[in-house]
Symmetry: C3
Subunit: 475 residues, 3 copies
């Protein structure tokens, strides 16, 4: 079989009707080259601090990307075979080429997925690939990519500049010294890389390792975390450290959207109990909800934007967690009740101009039923881009369809790439911009919007809206 | 910036594919000018009884429309700044022009929303406006509208006649004397304005003001509401009063869809307890569910169609409620379980030819999962038009897509405008008729329907189906 | 009124845009005549064992099809009037022609429903009808159909062969002797008809008739079902009997997706209690969940594929159940929690190559939120075709839209017709193939897929994917 040429359709993802496509092209043309504003993601700051070449094609494109590994696992591959090391140090495939071959053999599995879109554009635009992965092309591609990755233009900082990234936010543990961020700031390189304060490890009292994480927090903050008061003070100090390092936001990953505050004495007792030993899950959940309320209170004080990612059951398979660690593709969404969950937080802070909250969900049933009605009235609330399993063209279209009629465009927060896969960032923004251009073109074709309004709105979605959503608030 | 001309695209909301659009045009042409049958809405009967000119553009289009004010609030305006008076009599913007300017400055926020569609058509067709609102055009528009509102052709009854309204149902408290309805009936004007019996205030035992409302009910009915038996008798008498005033239906707004009846003795005890003092929420909720069952029983007796609007948490922000009153845009939907909730009611009355129930939801997940399967088999049940946040083109399309394959067209109940904004009624029906024409055209283009069937169905949806759904039942 | 000609649009259900339609045609042309693989359905094996002519048009197309009768009931017909006999032997319409007239008079009710598509194609392609049903054509059609049904080419086996059915799976009670399957196997006719093991009647301890069903199971298996151990042994023996008769799979209809195993002693006690008398619903539900886990364990042993149909509340109206029996169209879906429900089963067996589970739902909110994320990582899990109320063009499109971006195509299980209506099988597969062709064509037109990939995927969906999903597993 001849190698299938890898060509990017310049009209990809735009509406298929010729008249609507023509409008969409016009809209897209005005946003496609705008700088990339990346206020939420999971790129490691060390990558840009060290600026070393990427290891090999498999370690760039396969091993760290749980979108890719989970699909291969679903069809029978084992994580170890894909180069993902076990926590116990058992056998793992160390040959990048072997992992790459496996990936190429499973290329058809990605048909119709966003991974395919991201990978295609990354391969084509960033890495210069011109044939599709397949068993036949695997080796040739591997060699070509190894060569390409060795070029100076393929180093992280060079790519950052070439991508036109205006700001890149990482996501960091509360005790993180942010040394890599400091190193970047101190370097001669001009890229803006800012941290994000993510206290999950220390607010979920029943997380394995909580005790160690909270002690580390205390050390980093120079506070005695032996009391609840010291714990709060430590969090506040670390937030301040992050803020000074350029942080725009905090980030909170919770199973539920509950934000009910506890009485101070109850919170103190729960915290003290957790220091003494294991806590029953319901009490830990109540404390986590309480800490969302407290985080909102702190945000109102220090102006950090509060991001909430709710409704994903982490480590659905505990055996995978034990064998291979977290973030291995075994996180699965559940239904969420935002209307009741966010009520305490929004009643207290939702109309406060000093507060800003951006909410993300993988439960799209809440788009029209809960999130758009909430964001369409509470001034503090903005809707985050469709998240995780919904970060894909059809889901993005459903998001705009479900949300716009109630919340409009200005109550959304713009696109976030939310990725560990640094080199896929432009492709991800491009997908969002194409989908938005197509959606706006549909409104124009349907007589709901003038073309210049559509263009203006697309530009706002790609630039002013996310910048405003993540602008530091003033108390 | 030059003023953007306000033009209505004659093909707005029709499908974009030229061939499908041509079919849709043909279908729409057959229904666009049919009379408007309005069996559910919130226009104040006094408006048509008094037939006075509208006050000013802001008081017509902004102040009373919570769709409009909530959007402006979501972007930082305060209700008082928009002319909405506080309950405590604090400062409020009394200058219509100032409110109007604020609205015009926020016009872009409505892009992609149904408010924009309704307002555009109202401005264009009813008020003769030919430029878009904007900071630059605000004052000129205000002056022009003030002038227009003073014209005799712009008075409520003249508009009613010009709109081609065949019947307009209002929504009224159970103790309402219906004096305005009587005045209209006694007048020389020929418009049909009928009341709807909405007992919410007296069936939710924990509503603030319940005691006063139930006493007023007793007085209006001439019954002793000191006992549960007297309370039921009062409700029945008032229903009869409404029926004689032309009422077609009752209306019930509940948080859940629960319709479980209580034992008579339990209902009596709950009622007596509520008379004595505050009731725990669960008991009040059980009584409200019971009263849905009782209302169905009464409907079977007197033939009034029972409308159920379930699943909206009213007054999400209690502070707004305290400061500015109810219906200020702070009502937010929750998930609803219709399958289990409606079971007692449908088991008892769902196959009874003397009973008719029309159900509305803002939880669109129930369209295909629960409501279409229920309406597709129980003869007493009809599906109401997509409600509130779903009363919009994309949501209407999703409704038809989700519902038709299981329930067909004849188990839906036709469009209801459900509005306080009298002058927007034609625009709202027009949106529904365009969406239905487009949906039917899609079935024709997809080979599922012949063109004459599509036309016949569109006409039925706009005329015979709602008339049949709201026809008084015979016991 | 002149009879409306019944013509099948050769492009029906394909996308309407001319360019996309052209692609879809090309894709569909490659699959439209592929053999029909039917691994799940409800055709009675006796039909093919006896191979007798169908009784009359009403008994072929109306009486046994609860899709058809429920729609007529929803508009006022009574089941008895439609020829559905009551359980108590009361009056029932026995005149096929009278039932047929009623059906023809209600033909418009099916506009936009899949029943209309299935019936049209069946009437046209199988039965040679060339005019639409209507009050005017009812009698003429009835006569024509009576004649057609008497032809040898219209007998079940002849149709089976003409339809190109490669394998047809029935669904059978665990105690069924499978005599009809044996008779077919022993006959000279070459059709492949295999049973499916459906133990629902014996795992729901609170089902009416459970005691009798479990005793029958014991007799059929030659095991003493007086103990839980004997009960398990009986199930295993019967599975083996089914497996030897060619069964590929088991099937499980449950209200919830809970798969939590019980302690052995608890299961024994619950079973013993059920033998003694009525069980409380919660305990019966816990046992049913346990038996899903046990069934998975057995599947891993014997290689039978496990099908789960979760989330339908059977016999919503108990009066209909009492008067007319089960499966009368009064089954209504509820929301399902697959993420938590399937967790025990998937943790234990979801990564086991010897296990395969195909999950079906009528709660489409779980497509993107739960099922695609689960199937996109657990190798044992495949997503069944959109089920029951979702077995329709628009719902199928929503399924592909919601599922593909996360789970791809290869984690779905292909189409199942799931029908009692034997003669509708080709029409049902045709609908699915058209929808898939259209979906794939959309990906091609949107630049996400090459045409040859689309064709290859369509062929896989119609052939290799379902064959692999239902291939007997090796332990």
């Amino acid at each position: 079989m001849a190698a299938r040429p890898l060509v990017l359709d310049d009209d990809r993802l735009l509406p298929v009707d010729p008249a609507v496509r023509a409008i969409a092209r016009e809209v897209h043309a005005r946003v496609r080259d705008l700088p990339l504003f990346c206020p939420h993601g999971h790129v490691d700051a060390a990558l840009l601090a060290r600026d070393e070449p990427f290891a090999d094609p498999a370690r760039l494109l396969v091993v760290p990307d749980h979108y890719v590994t989970r699909m291969l696992v679903s069809q029978g591959a084992r994580l170890e075979e894909l180069g993902v090391p076990g926590t116990g140090g058992g056998p793992v495939e160390r040959d990048g080429r072997a992992v790459w071959r496996r990936f190429c053999a499973g290329w058809h599995l990605f048909r119709g997925t966003p991974s395919r879109l991201w990978l295609e554009q990354e391969l084509h635009d960033v890495l210069g690939v011109r044939v599709h992965p397949s068993p036949e092309t695997a080796d040739e591609l591997y060699d070509q990519l190894v060569e390409r990755l060795a070029e100076p233009s393929c180093r992280p900082r060079a790519l950052f500049d070439a991508f036109g990234i205006e700001l890149l936010a990482t996501t960091d543990a509360p005790a993180d010294a942010l040394a890599d961020h400091a190193a970047i700031a101190a370097s001669s390189w001009g890229g803006t890389v800012v941290p994000t304060f993510r206290p999950d490890a220390v607010v979920h009292l029943d997380r394995p390792g909580w005790r160690g994480d909270v002690e580390e927090l205390g050390r980093a903050a120079g506070e005695d975390v032996g009391t609840y008061a010291g714990y709060l003070a430590a969090l506040q100090r670390r937030r301040e450290h992050f803020r000074r390092a350029g942080a725009r936001a905090t980030d909170h990953g919770h199973l539920s959207a509950d934000t009910t505050p506890m009485e101070r004495a109850d919170a103190e007792r729960a915290y003290a109990a957790a220091l003494r030993g294991p806590l029953e899950p319901a009490r830990a959940a109540a404390f986590a909800a309480h800490m969302l309320f407290e985080s909102a209170r702190m945000s109102r004080e220090d102006g950090l934007v509060m991001q909430l990612h709710a409704g994903v059951l982490r480590d659905h398979d505990p055996l995978v967690r034990a064998r291979s660690g977290p973030d291995r593709g075994f996180d699965v969404p559940v239904a969420v009740d935002f209307t009741r969950g966010l009520r305490p937080l929004l009643n207290a802070f939702g109309s406060d101009p000093a507060f800003r909250c951006v909410v993300f969900t993988t439960d799209e049933t809440t788009f029209s039923r809960e999130l758009a009605p909430l964001a369409g009235v509470y001034p503090a609330l903005r809707l985050g881009a469709p998240w995780w399993f919904l970060d894909s063209p059809a889901a993005m279209r459903r998001f705009r369809e479900a949300v716009t009629e109630t919340a409009g465009f200005w109550n959304t927060a713009g696109f976030v790439d939310d990725t560990r896969a640094f080199a896929s960032i432009p492709a991800r923004h491009d997908v969002a911009r194409r989908v938005d251009a197509g959606f706006l073109a549909g409104l124009v074709a349907g007589g709901q919007l003038a073309l210049d309004e559509a263009v203006e709105t697309a530009v706002a979605l790609a630039s002013t809206i996310p910048r405003a959503a993540y602008a530091p608030r003033e108390g």
